[in-house]
Every structure is written in C-alpha cells, then in structure tokens.
Symmetry: C2
Subunit: 125 residues, 2 copies
DNA sequence: GGAGCATATACGTGTCAAGGCATATTAAGG
DNA sequence: CCTTAATATGCCTTGACACGTATATGCTCC
C-alpha cells in the first residue's frame, strides 16, 4: 500500500475524501453518510491518515478528520506530463482549461466544434 | 478492474503510460526499455487498451501503441473538486499554476514566498 | 509452405488487501 | 465506579490480480 495511486484505487476511500472536501467530519458522520460499517470507516481512515491524505484532531470521544492537500497534489503533479500530451491533441486543452476555471460556463455560448484556435496559456513571464 | 483509478494503481502500467507520452512504441520497444518480460507487457497493454488508455495499430508483425487522452482527463476531472480545497490553503494554487505550464522554469527567478496575491478562481455564480 | 520473429493467451500459483464480526480502548457522565 | 457512546484493532475468509512459464496465433520472407 505504498503509493498514492493504490490509496485512491479504493472506491470507499475516494468517497471519504470527497466527503471531507466540504468540511471536517467525525467517524460517525462519515459512517452515516456513506452507509458503511464503522470498522470499515476506521480502517480506511487509518490508511488515509498513514498516507497523509487526512489528519485528525480529538474532540472528546470523537475524532474529527480533515483533508490534507499534499498527496493529491502529488497526483496532480504526476498528471502534468500527460497534459503536455493532450494539449497536442486539438482543443482538448481547451476543454481542460474550461474545467480548470469553473467560473462562468454560461457566459460564453460559443460553439466548441467550430471555434477558432484559442490562445494557449502563455509561458509565464 | 473497473475504474481509471484501479488501472493506474499498477506501477508497471504507469511506467508504460509515461513511456508512451513521448511517442508511440511497439511492444518490443516497451519490453526492452522497461526491462519486463514480454507477456507482462502484453497483459498490461491489454488492460490499458480495454480501459481506453491506449490504442494500437498494426504495423506488419508489430503493434504500435499510442496514448489516448480521455481516461487521464477523467482523472484530472476528479481532481477538480480538491483543487478548490487546496486553493484555500495559502498559495498552493500558485504552485499548481506554476506546474501547469512547465515551459521555462528557469526564466523567472521570482521569489515565490514574497509574491503578491494571485487571482483566485472565482466562486461559481 | 516452412522457418523465424513479434505478440497474444492460457494456466497455475502466491500474495495482499477488503470485509465481516467480535472485541478492545478511551472518554464522559451520572 | 459503572454504563454507555465513539472509535480502534484483531482475526479470519475470500477474492482479485500480478507474475512466471509454456504455448498459441499471426505475419513475413525465402
């Protein structure tokens, strides 16, 4: 269970991570929302904690788990090499950029298919 | 072996994908560069092909494998939800952007630490 | 069409991790 | 203290998958 990749291969763990995006949660809250048995939750949280995906603080009998960014950023970094590749594929980059800034999708009803070449992200000055 | 995540959990498969970023390769070339037995390569390629990560064309006795972008873009899309999160963490977003365009890193000796606030992704309207 | 190279598949085996269930730990509160 | 709630851990079973070795398929060229 070394790598970041193996950790997120497990669907329940991904579900937990997605849950924690909004805010920190206790084990019991996770258990209820995801409808999984408590030992399962605890075990997955252990894995996530040891891999650095989450951290916990104690609040009386309960433990509050929150996300930590580093491992997912590492994953993001791994993806970088492929972004170069798929930006070579025509306007796949554009779709990617659209996903990047998910502000205002409705603002431009521009047709993707017939769209002119977009300005590529400029090399940072 | 459903999900994108399970596919890339395997180190050898990731190695193959990384190899194919530069250009298409035959099975034999992959075999030699990664120093893995031929059946292993073929099996992993099968998995990758069925999951849509690669496609192959026939060139006489050899088959040339090349990358397909979609599954990795799907992974990228999954990461999106977390980008919002870690952009809440101070200037992690900035590091992310720096990673996005990996052209010319040496050109700007700008100090990251003392840099001014970057424009954040706006909350969806 | 037979030899030889390139790639794919079949089968048997070992490992490892997820899940279920029971139980241990720790804290709180009366 | 004793009980109850919240969480963690241990053990066992089961299934999936990666690997090695052997073999099959397919193409080329003579």
């Amino acid at each position: 269970m070394e790598s970041v990749f193996e950790i997120i291969a497990e669907p329940n763990r991904r579900a937990i991570l997605s849950l924690l995006v909004s805010s920190e949660q206790s084990v019991g809250e996770i258990e209820r929302q995801l409808r999984m048995p408590q030992p399962t939750v605890s075990k997955h949280l252990r894995v996530l904690r040891e891999a650095g995906f989450v951290e916990s603080t104690v609040d009386a009998q309960r433990r509050l788990y929150r996300l930590k960014p580093e491992p997912l950023q590492e994953l993001d970094a791994w993806l970088t090499q492929f972004r170069r590749f798929w930006s070579a594929h025509v306007d796949a980059l554009e779709r990617h950029l659209d996903r990047m800034d998910q502000s205002m999708e409705r603002a431009t009803p521009t047709k993707r298919k017939t769209r002119m070449k977009t300005t590529r992200p400029k090399p940072r000055t």
